[in-house]
Amino acid sequence: MNRNIRTIVAAATFILMIAALFMVFDYAPTEADQGIVQRIFYFHVPCAWVAFASFGIAALSGILYLWLGDRIWDDLEYAAAETGMVFCTLVLVTGSLWAKPIWGTWWTWDSRLTTTFILWLMYGGYMMMRASADDTAQTARFGAVIAIVAAADVPVVIASVRLWRTIHPAVIVTKEGGHGLEDPRMVAALLVSLAAFTALYGWLLMLRFAQLRARTRLGALAREIALAYAAAGDD
């Protein structure tokens, strides 16, 4: 990955993040019903968007890896899965922090929360598999299989969880559309925050991807050297 592009994205992240912080805490008005707590939403939503997009990238890379067999796709898949996991964790944490004062509970089995949690569990399994297998082509195939199955499962998860929540007696009455952004300044703050988090995500993904690429190349180089020695007849 080109170092210059990474520097540019890092700079963009820095600027956008400063702008987002200003807009979230100063520019956007305090929401009437929820008060100051509502501002966490400007972090929560971008994290969710980035996490879902990342898992999507992971699944697509998995398909490309199985199809083309080039390790570059495996590196991208692993990087996207890991980075997605970071943001998915942030979604759950920020969601809980927001839910406690607003809904009166840390956690509720709301359909979106549940879907996010299930995705988090799936990729938790993915990480555990990666951690307990050697860095081989076989492990790369395993990762691709899990990422693809997880992504294919998401529509069924959403369908089942929605049905479950509408039929199950609601423990907590949620205010549907509680995120209503009546003020245009709120919309602006959200958009800037979305851009900032997307840039942050892009930067982190590139860093991790470059690192994994380097590892893969290093492995290939070590093999080449060992092969050259082997051909020369030395041990």
Binding site: G124, Q138, V149, D153
Partner: protein
Amino acid sequence: MSPFAAVLRKDLRLELRGGNSTLSLVALSLMVMAVMVFTQAEAKSHDAESAAAAIWIAMVFSGVIGATRVLTAERENGCIRGLLLCPIDPAGLYAAKLCAAFIFMAIAEAAAMLMMVLFFNLDFGVPLLRTAPILMLGALGFAAAATLLAAISSRTRAGDMILPILAVPIYVPALIAGVRATAAALGGAPMGAIAQWLKIMVAFDILLVTAGCLLFEYAARED
């Protein structure tokens, strides 16, 4: 005889000849149901909801063991390598393994249904009959997911420990749908009322069986 039939016949024959997978699954189901009864408050232990919860927890546990057993049978003497050397479609191999796991699970589920009636003081009758297709759909889905993922987990250092961690989150939609449908059916709801749950289960089963057939090759290959 097709490779599918040959592999399935071989697995069933091995099972009858002291593989004891089914027996372990039945015993495990019994334990899970008993634990469920002991951990429930007295007042709650005789209703459809608890019974449905118990039988589905038993399903998940027995499914993990069932899929693991079906693949460990191939590990002795490196038989899985011998199978992969054969000129057969990996999808056929997957389908046969899936069927074997499903049959073991289905028998365990049938036994678990009997235990459920006894432990949770239910009646034999139409409501119970209605749960049978629900449980079979659930067993098929779990077998489909677990057979594919067991091919992965058995090759990691964590070994079979990792199978439930991989399989259960994937299985959540069928689990949610299955428990709700079972509870509704036991509570006397007609088939029409649980149709939407069944749709989700059928969709899950089709999805996972398809994914397994397409991806098993990549999970099982050795190089």
